[in-house]
């Protein structure tokens, strides 16, 4: 039985607290039940402030001002969206470092509805300078990324998810398979659906679990010199990294298709993560249809039309 990302995180942090006296954990109830043994061993460095997310971030900032390395953790909307100004001011503006670890990702808890979804987490952090953003696609990738984050410096965001790729990948931008008709960059847990979608298509597939800083040189090296068709597939808001792809390819004539969680509507639906992936066009069928439409092979299918009203383009004219 392999461990989930959340189990990897709590196990790794518990052990790291024993060996690194600089480390401290601030919680707002979420996962406190998984860290009771560590809290008993280190009552001064495992702090559960109750259901108080603003305080969780403020306390992390204060801990960092005394030279500690705070780890703060909650479900993504309550870590990034609710106390966003605290991230901006109590961490960034104070000039301190911290490790923010979210769980739940964009649609891991679909039955919980919109209140427990945070597809804008990476886009929001993108408005602040200096954050390293890791989007692991497998628990073993998280296990590899955590030590550097916990024992390093600066601001780090680790986005954990229950959507896992079948196999772990090494860190850094990876060429998963070669191809000549275009370049698909799959981020984190999107690799599985992207590989399934790309079957039978002559496209190169790249993989990244670290999106900030964005490996612009790596992407530039992977696309053909003359002209390029690039598809970005991210597990959070569509186009979150589009500005960085544009910057990386500013000297290459290129077309860019950005796939991700749709921005045009609030998806008011429960069900399963698979159903949400399909609704956002992020399941293998949806990604495959988008790829074929964009690259011009096979039947041209509009993106996202399967989800119903309000999304179809007007006919005629132009």
């Amino acid at each position: 039985m392999t461990r989930t990302m959340r189990e990897v995180f709590t196990d790794t942090v518990s052990t790291a607290l024993d060996t690194d006296p600089r480390l401290a954990v601030v919680l707002a109830e979420i996962s406190a039940d998984r860290l009771t043994a560590a809290a008993a061993r280190h009552p001064d460095r495992v702090l559960n402030v109750g259901i108080r997310e603003q305080l969780m971030v403020g306390v992390a900032g204060g801990l960092a001002l005394t030279g500690l390395r705070p780890v703060l953790h909650s479900i993504a909307p309550f870590l990034v969206e609710r106390p966003f100004e605290q991230l901006k001011l109590d961490l960034n503006h104070q000039g301190v470092g911290a490790v923010a670890v979210s769980t739940g990702a964009a649609y891991d808890y679909p039955a919980a509805g919109r209140t427990h979804m945070s597809p804008g987490d990476v886009a929001l952090l993108d408005t602040l300078p200096g954050w390293r953003v890791h989007v692991p696609g497998h628990p073993r990738e998280l296990a590899e990324l955590l030590p550097g984050a916990l024992h390093g410096d600066g601001l780090v965001y680790l986005r954990m998810t229950e959507r896992e790729n079948p196999h772990p990948m090494p860190p850094g931008l990876q060429l998963v398979r070669p191809g000549s008709r275009g370049v698909v960059l799959a981020v984190g847990p999107m690799l599985g659906p992207v590989l399934a979608a790309a079957e039978g298509l002559d496209v190169a597939v790249l993989y990244a679990s670290t999106v900030r800083p964005f490996d612009a040189a790596g992407l530039r090296a992977a696309v053909p010199a003359g002209a390029a068709d690039v598809v970005l597939v991210e597990p959070y808001l569509a186009g979150t990294s589009a500005h960085l792809v544009s910057e990386a390819l500013r000297d290459v004539p290129h077309r860019l298709l950005s796939l991700g969680v749709r921005r045009d509507v609030e998806l008011r639906a429960y069900g399963t993560a698979e159903e949400h992936e399909a609704a956002h066009g992020l399941d293998p069928a949806g990604i495959g249809a988008s790829l074929r439409a964009f690259l011009g092979s096979g039947p041209v299918t509009a993106v996202n039309t399967s989800t119903g009203a309000g999304t179809s383009a007007p006919t005629g004219g132009a």
Binding site: A24, L47, V59, L65, L68
Partner: protein, 231 residues
């Protein structure tokens, strides 16, 4: 830098360097007396020890109207008084809200209300975790600033965790629109804090209240000053 330390009576002159007024009265600045008493006779911190891990920490949470803060820092030698006339210029370290990375001796950047008390809690927890039992953490908030809910997240936890190294000074100029019936100190005392209400212009009373600490209980000192003039 100054070679001789300046005194309380020099503060109006230092304030005037920022305001341009010829005579800037201390009474026009609600925080001036509290800040003076803290830096003159309560806090164990001076320019020489501004980066020492065992220094006392002062966090100005109410970051607006920082002229009194800059004047006191200048009087105590943290800041060159020659910087004061250029305050708010593009490349001045002194803005209308202080930035800890630009001003020596400033512990936090503030301006948006409701951030100082949570940061002070974290600082107190951090010092405790690092085994530094000596330093105090003093945070200054305004009575209207307490409107922000983040303060109440901090007040409850500080009281329940018995953070004796933490002191909150509430400069109360009755500027909160909805007020604090029964007294602002009650919001702290009910959560387990030790509380004092004093005349925010009386240096002896301020000193007595600010030094009446307990090891297992945070302290709140409400410093009452003249009500803010209606806008």
């Amino acid at each position: 830098m100054t070679t001789t330390e300046l005194g309380y009576r020099d503060l109006p002159g230092l304030l005037s360097r920022m305001t341009g007024d010829e005579k800037h009265s201390a009474a026009a600045t609600s925080t001036l007396d509290v800040l003076w008493v803290l830096y003159d006779s309560v806090l164990a911190v001076e320019p020489r020890t501004a980066d020492h891990p065992d220094r006392d920490r002062f966090l100005l949470s109410k970051g607006h109207g920082p002229m009194a803060y800059y004047a006191v820092l200048a009087a105590k030698g943290f800041l060159d008084p020659a910087e004061l006339p250029r305050w708010t210029a593009f490349d001045s370290p002194l803005g209308q809200h202080p930035d800890r990375t630009l001003v020596p001796g400033v512990e936090i950047g503030s301006g948006s209300l409701g951030h100082g008390l949570p940061l002070a809690l974290g600082t107190a927890f951090g010092l405790r975790a690092r085994g530094r039992r000596r330093p105090r953490v003093v945070v200054l908030v305004g009575d209207a600033e307490l409107d922000e809910g983040s303060n109440h997240e901090a007040i409850a936890v500080a009281g329940r965790r018995g953070l004796g190294s933490l002191t909150a000074v509430v400069v109360d100029n009755a500027s909160s629109s909805h007020g604090w019936p029964g007294g602002v100190e009650q919001r702290f005392v009910r959560e387990g804090w030790r509380g004092h209400v004093v005349d925010g212009r009386d240096h002896d009373s301020l000193h007595r209240a600010l030094t009446d600490t307990r090891t297992d209980q945070p302290l709140v000192v409400v410093a009452r000053v003249e009500p803010k003039e209606p806008r």
